[in-house]
Symmetry: C2
Subunit: 342 residues, 2 copies
Amino acid sequence: MTTISVTDLHDRVTRIFTGAGLTPQNAASVATVIVNGERDHCKSHGIYRIEGCLRTVQAGLAVPDAQPELHDSGKAVIEVEAHGGFANPAFDHAKDALVARAKETGIAALVIRDCLHFSALWHEVELLAAEGLASLSMCPSYAFVAPAGGTEPLLGTNPMAFGYPRQGENPYVYDFATSVAARGEIELHRRAGTPLPKGWAVDKDGNPTTDPEAALDGAMLPFGGHKGSAISTMIELMAGAMLGERMSKEALEFTGANGTLLPRHGALVIAMDPAVFAARSGRDPIDEGERLLSAIGAQGARLPSQRRFEAREKSLAEGITLTDAEVAQLDRFEAQGLAALD
Amino acid sequence: MTTISVTDLHDRVTRIFTGAGLTPQNAASVATVIVNGERDHCKSHGIYRIEGCLRTVQAGLAVPDAQPELHDSGKAVIEVEAHGGFANPAFDHAKDALVARAKETGIAALVIRDCLHFSALWHEVELLAAEGLASLSMCPSYAFVAPAGGTEPLLGTNPMAFGYPRQGENPYVYDFATSVAARGEIELHRRAGTPLPKGWAVDKDGNPTTDPEAALDGAMLPFGGHKGSAISTMIELMAGAMLGERMSKEALEFTGANGTLLPRHGALVIAMDPAVFAARSGRDPIDEGERLLSAIGAQGARLPSQRRFEAREKSLAEGITLTDAEVAQLDRFEAQGLAALD
């Protein structure tokens, strides 16, 4: 085991990405979300993701030196073209414009076009909460999920995140897939030879299954039955169809790699300024939120992201601990670049 | 059994409400959502609701002759003061301004302040879909639901609805409570002496229960575990705290009637124009949506609201069939007004 500071890990990961052809700005931006995932003990979005990013660059499906391009209509919808690059530098490029617009108009939306979105969405809503804004973020992914009552994969695992600022506290943040489980969890059951919990998946004929092989051959299910399915469909419509960007089925067809590389599609972020929304009420919208959030905590219920914030505090104080295998992989990626993948 | 046309039922219900002191405009607006619920065989939002509305007027908690007042900042957030009246006339009063603003700015929000919101939210998102807009609508309610992992009621049943327009078809519409069941369903189990399905509720110590009495004394649970709980919390924040309007706990305290009268709080509607969002993509956002929605149907999966749209078609063609008891109640309300409640 090795312990490394958050800053040092960020430097290493940035070097790996510049070594793979990313511009310094793109590399730093992608490194930030990956290192933040690792920092928060959110391992599925940590350095584990580096290989997938590099493989997608190697396959020519991610544009490493893409320059995000802002299109600002001057109204409440702002767009940024990622031009086939990662979503993170595109978001970073447009963030200040989105924040300024939301503060001016009360509500504003950011459309990210043609991006690779592999990172947790909490990163975006936390950055906006730090500016005093509430926000919703969502995107399609790969079509591995059947609609409730259906038989074939058509919806993505379609994540959705929401952030709401708090005074002197980490913000209220949720971020989850609208599938009942992640595809990687089914893969883990397959490798371990253990059955899936009921309700995770259907086989290719649409029958409920606990067999991981049959599930991978069939379809995953949305969380929360028909309600979760309706929300997942909404995400396809709002962050796919409405933007004129690929939905999850087209994203899978576009990459043509059965989901082993990162999906390329659009993303939608809606930012709202509570100060504008509450202005005429005479109430403080952050204090009001606090009444609810502290009451949830007082019941002994955990707020979403609470474990992540605790891990963050520890990582910032004590550094991030990596296994020898993880360090060896970082060494390899840093020394050999994309050749390390062969 | 009696069959009555949608128009005739609307006339009767409007007369009942003018008889209870509502202005003709308020009465017609409230009658529309109630009759539309009945028309769509959505009995829980149909004429069954009349009594609750009248009782709230009788208790002095609904202002029958409230005049909705529009406050338009000229930016992307529009507000309407319901002044303690029903949400429906307030929404109707502000709808054209919201539609025009969303078409101009791409995204716009409507804040409804201090309203009684008893009706299904699908009514609002359908009206916006008919104008070519996608929309999200949400509001708090009464605090009867415990957060996931919690023990005490703190969240409302917090409904959320979404609409997306389709060409030549009824829109894509979902509308559901974020609690796993409606409070009325628990009451029905209590009366029938049948146990609740698992996962619906906890007793007052926070332990899972299938006993309806213990559930009514304890708390209902959100749908979809911690994910549904996170969404319900978001609705409290977005449609309560952020607007500076009552959240579900304060709404329950304000009415002070243990939830037997209608709750009074705010509501939030976000309208988006797909034509603006998709403009630079070169794709038609409605055609794109259709590819997904028709593929869901082709799998044999039902879209949300499909049963409702089928019932609507039948009601419009054949009229609405009411039981003798329902007709007798309408007669009583129409003849005696609020005195019929005693």
